[in-house]
C-alpha cells in the first residue's frame, strides 16, 4: 500500500506545473479566450514537444505509453493552470483510436495524433438526442447525416471521431465534403464548444471496434476531466487562502475570521476528497480495471460538484473583486461548471453509483 505519486509522476507534475505557469499567465489566457478561434497554436506545439499529446497512448504508435495516473497528474495541472488547449479532446480521441482502430488506421491517424501533428476530437452528442453519455442516435452507414453538438475544440481539430447509434466510431476528416462547423457561445471561454453538421458525409474510415470497447475510454476520460476539475478547485483554494491572508478588514486579515477561514477549510476538504477520488479511480484504471466503472463515476460525480463549488466559494471569499471580469476567478468557476456538465453530470454518475452499490458492489482494493 502506497498512495502517493512516484518520483517519475512527481517529475511529470513539476514539469507540467512550471511549463504551464510560464506559458499561461493570466494575460495570455485572456488573449486566447478573447481570440476568434480560442486555439493557441504555439502552446499546442510546445505541449506536443513535451510528449503530452500521446502521454497515455501506446509507445508503438508514437505515444509515451504512460498510465491513467500519469494522465490524471497532467490534467490536474492543466486545470490548475486553466490552460486553453485541445489536449483533453485529443487525448480522448486518441484513446478511442488506440482501442477501436485497426493497425492501418492507427498508422494513418493515431501516430500523427500521438505526436501532435494531427488533432482529433470526439463528436458524441446528437443535437436531437438525449445528451446522455454513451447513447447516440445518428445512424451508421456508408454516409453520415445529422448534427453533433457540444463538440470540444472542433474549430482546431483536423478530424472527428463520430459516434453512431450502433456504438461505432467513424473517422471524418474536417475537409470532407458536407461537414459544417459552427461555434457555440459557451459559458467556459477557455474551452470552445461547437456544433458539427454532417450532410451525407462519407467517413474516411469506420473503426472495427464495437460500442463496448469505448466504455473504458469513457471512464478514463471521466477520470481525466475530474482531475482537471480538481486542479481548478486547488487553484481557486490557493487564490482564496492567499487573499484571506492579505486582505484586511476591521483591522485584521479576513482569514482570521471563522466565517472566512471555515469556508476555506470546506474548500480544502472538497478539493482533497476530489483528489483522492480521482487518483483512486486512475489507479483502478491501470491496476484493477474491473472496479474502474464505479470508481470513475465516484470521481466524476464528486469532482463535478467540487470543481465549481470551490471556485464559487472562492468568489465569496474574495467579495466584490471576485465578481469582476478583471479578476481571474470567473474563468475557474466557468471551467468547473462546464466540466460538471460534460461526460455525465454528478446526478448521472451518482445514479450509476447507486446501481452498483445497491447491487452490492464494493469500492476497489478494499483492505
Amino acid at each position: 500500500m502506497y498512495f502517493d505519486l512516484t518520483d517519475e509522476q512527481q517529475a511529470i507534475k513539476s514539469t507540467a506545473h512550471d511549463f504551464l505557469a510560464s506559458r499561461f499567465k493570466s494575460e495570455r489566457i485572456r488573449e486566447i479566450a478573447a481570440g476568434e478561434s480560442g486555439f493557441d497554436e504555439r502552446g499546442w506545439k510546445e505541449m506536443a514537444e513535451l510528449g503530452w499529446a500521446g502521454l497515455a497512448l501506446p509507445e508503438e504508435w508514437g505515444g509515451q505509453g504512460l498510465g491513467t495516473v500519469d494522465l490524471a497528474v497532467l490534467f490536474e495541472e492543466m486545470g490548475y493552470a486553466l490552460a486553453p488547449s485541445p489536449l483533453l479532446s485529443n487525448t480522448i480521441a486518441g484513446l478511442a483510436l488506440s482501442i477501436g482502430g485497426s493497425d492501418e488506421q492507427k498508422e494513418r491517424w493515431l501516430r500523427p495524433l500521438a505526436e501532435g501533428e494531427l488533432r482529433a476530437t470526439p463528436a458524441l452528442i446528437d443535437a436531437d438526442g438525449p445528451a446522455e453519455p454513451m447513447k447516440f442516435s445518428m445512424a451508421a452507414g456508408d454516409t453520415l447525416s445529422g448534427e453533433k453538438t457540444l463538440v470540444m475544440d472542433a474549430g482546431s481539430a483536423d478530424l472527428f471521431l463520430v459516434a453512431t447509434a450502433d456504438g461505432g466510431r467513424h473517422v471524418v476528416e474536417k475537409d470532407a465534403g458536407g461537414v459544417t462547423v459552427t461555434a457555440e457561445e459557451g459559458i467556459d471561454l477557455t474551452r470552445r464548444l461547437f456544433t458539427v453538421r454532417f450532410d451525407g458525409v462519407t467517413p474516411a474510415a469506420t473503426l472495427p471496434g464495437s460500442g463496448e470497447d469505448y466504455t473504458p475510454v469513457f471512464h478514463r476520460a471521466c477520470v481525466a476531466l475530474a482531475a482537471e476539475s480538481t486542479g481548478v478547485a486547488q487553484r481557486a483554494l490557493e487564490m482564496s487562502v492567499a487573499y484571506a491572508k492579505d486582505r484586511q478588514q476591521f483591522g485584521r486579515p479576513i482569514g482570521a475570521y471563522q466565517a472566512v477561514s471555515h469556508r476555506c477549510a470546506q474548500m480544502l476538504l472538497e478539493t482533497e476528497n476530489s483528489r483522492s477520488a480521482v487518483y483512486g479511480a486512475a489507479w483502478a484504471a491501470d491496476a484493477e480495471p474491473e472496479s474502474l466503472p464505479l470508481a470513475a463515476s465516484m470521481a466524476k460525480a464528486y469532482a463535478s460538484d467540487a470543481g465549481w463549488r470551490v471556485p464559487d466559494m472562492a468568489i465569496q471569499v474574495h467579495g466584490g473583486i471576485g465578481f469582476t471580469w478583471e479578476h481571474d476567478l470567473h474563468f475557474f468557476l466557468k471551467r468547473g461548471r462546464a466540466n460538471a456538465a460534460m461526460l455525465g453530470d454528478a446526478k448521472w454518475h451518482r445514479e450509476r453509483v447507486a446501481d452498483a452499490v445497491l447491487a452490492g458492489e464494493t469500492a476497489p482494493a478494499s483492505a
Binding site: M1, D4, Q9, A256, G280, M298, V357, L358, A367
Partner: protein
C-alpha cells in the same frame, strides 16, 4: 502508487481475519453497562493473550510492534467483523502510548502490563465545565505537599470514570505561568476518598461518561508524567494518538452501516416499489458511498504520508470532521427512509430494525463534538494546514 496490500500485508490481514473469526465472542449483551464492561474485559484479555492488545506498542513494552499499515488493517478488520471494543480503550489508545513516550522506567514497569490485560481501566481527565475546546484554560489545581500533590477541581465528559483505576489528569500546578505552561500531567488513582464520580445521562438515555469531582485528592510526585509544567505537550501527544487510531476502524464501521442502509432502503416499501427505487434516496445513498470512499482514500493518502514522515499531520482533522458529517448524514437518511415509523424507539413493537437507527441517529449527534468539535477542527485546518492567521 499501489492501493493493494503487499503479500506480507495480505498475510497479516488473513491472520487477523482468521483469528477474529475463530475468537469473535458475538454481539455485546443487551444489558446494563456493568455487564457490557465485564464482557469487554473478558474480550480484551482474550485479545491480549493472543497478542492483539496494544498492537501499535513496541514489543519491549508488551505490544506487537505492528507497522502503521498493520494497525490500520487490524482496526479495519475488527470493525468489519463488528468485534467488540476492548474494555480499556483509552488506556490502550492514549494512556499506554503516553507512558511509553514520556514516562519513567518505573512508570512503564508499573502501568503498561495492566493496561494491556484490561485489569486496570483508564479514563481521561482533561475537559472541565468551563474548559471545553479551550482546554488550556483548565482550572483544576494541584498543590505540592511534601512528596505528594493535592488536587481540587472538577472534570467532565469522563468516559468510563466509574470503572477506571487510573485517570490521565491534567491539572494546573503554576497559576502564575502562561496558561499553556502551568499545567502538569498526572496519573491519578481513582480509588480514593477525594475522588467522586457522578454519571451524566446522554440524549440516548445511556451514561457512558461522568462528572468527576476532586476534593483534596492525592497524587504522589512519582505519578507526574513528562515533568512538572509540561502537561500541555504531554496532553497533545495523547490527543494525536487518539486521532491517528480512529480512522480505519471508523471507515469499516461506516461501510457496515452503509450496507445496513441499503438493506433498509430495499426493504422499505415506497410508491409501489421500495425506497431503493426512489431517485431521491438513490442519489443520497450514492453520495454517501462516494464520500465514504473519499474518506477511505484520504486515510490511505494520510497513512502513506505519515509512514514517510513518522508523525501524523494536522490533515487527520479532515478525516475526523468528515467522519462526523457522514455518520450524521447516514443516520438522518435512515430516519427519512423509515418515514412515519422513524418516531418509534427500541422496545416498541412497530419500531423498524428494533429501533437501531433511532439510537444511531441520537448517538451520532455527539460525533461532531467528541474528540474535538468540528468547529475546532476547522480552526486547526485553517491555521495549521492552510496557514491562515489565528484570531486569538
Amino acid at each position: 502508487m499501489d492501493l493493494t496490500l503487499s503479500p506480507s500485508e495480505e498475510e497479516f490481514r488473513d491472520e487477523v481475519r482468521a483469528w477474529l473469526q475463530a475468537n469473535h465472542p458475538g454481539p455485546e449483551p443487551e444489558a446494563g453497562l456493568d455487564e457490557v464492561m465485564a464482557f469487554r474485559r473478558e474480550w480484551q484479555l482474550k485479545l491480549h493473550e493472543a497478542g492483539w492488545a496494544g498492537i501499535s506498542w513496541p514489543k519491549e513494552y508488551g505490544g506487537r510492534g505492528a507497522t502503521m499499515i498493520e494497525q490500520a488493517i487490524f482496526a479495519a478488520e475488527a470493525s468489519r467483523q463488528e468485534a467488540p471494543a476492548p474494555a480499556n480503550v483509552l488506556g490502550l489508545a492514549m494512556g499506554g502510548p503516553v507512558v511509553i513516550a514520556h514516562g519513567t522506567d518505573e512508570q512503564k514497569a508499573r502501568y503498561l502490563e495492566p493496561i494491556l490485560t484490561g485489569e486496570e481501566i483508564w479514563c481521561q481527565g482533561f475537559s472541565e465545565p468551563e474548559s471545553g475546546s479551550d482546554l488550556a484554560s483548565l482550572k483544576t489545581r494541584a498543590v505540592k505537599d511534601g512528596d505528594q500533590w493535592v488536587v481540587t477541581g472538577q472534570k467532565v465528559w469522563t468516559t468510563f470514570a466509574q470503572y477506571a483505576k487510573w485517570c490521565m489528569l491534567v491539572a494546573r500546578t503554576d497559576p502564575d505561568a502562561p496558561k499553556h505552561q502551568g499545567l502538569t500531567y498526572f496519573l491519578m488513582d481513582m480509588e480514593q476518598e477525594g475522588v467522586q464520580t457522578r454519571p451524566l445521562v446522554q440524549i440516548t438515555g445511556e451514561g457512558e461518561f461522568n462528572e468527576v469531582f476532586f476534593e483534596e485528592a492525592r497524587v504522589p510526585d512519582a505519578n507526574v508524567v513528562g515533568g512538572v509544567g509540561n502537561g500541555w505537550t504531554v496532553a497533545i501527544t495523547t490527543l494525536m494518538n487518539e486521532r491517528a487510531g480512529l480512522a480505519f476502524g471508523a471507515i469499516s464501521q461506516i461501510q457496515n452501516s452503509l450496507g445496513r442502509l441499503s438493506k433498509l432502503a430495499s426493504e422499505t416499501p415506497a410508491d409501489g416499489g421500495t425506497a431503493a427505487d426512489d431517485p431521491y434516496f438513490r442519489q443520497r445513498i450514492a453520495q454517501l458511498h462516494i464520500e465514504v470512499e473519499t474518506m477511505r482514500l484520504n486515510a490511505y493518502r494520510g497513512l502513506t504520508k505519515t509512514m514517510q514522515s513518522g508523525i501524523p499531520g494536522p490533515e487527520g482533522s479532515l478525516g475526523k470532521w468528515q467522519w462526523a458529517d457522514i455518520n450524521q448524514d447516514l443516520t438522518e437518511l435512515a430516519l427519512e427512509i423509515e418515514g412515519a415509523y422513524s418516531v418509534l424507539m427500541r422496545g416498541s413493537e412497530h419500531a423498524v430494525s428494533g429501533g437501531a437507527w433511532q439510537y444511531s441517529f441520537l448517538r451520532s449527534r455527539a460525533n461532531s463534538i467528541e474528540g474535538g468539535t468540528t468547529d475546532i477542527l476547522k480552526n486547526i485546518i485553517a491555521e495549521r494546514v492552510l496557514g491562515l492567521p489565528r484570531l486569538r
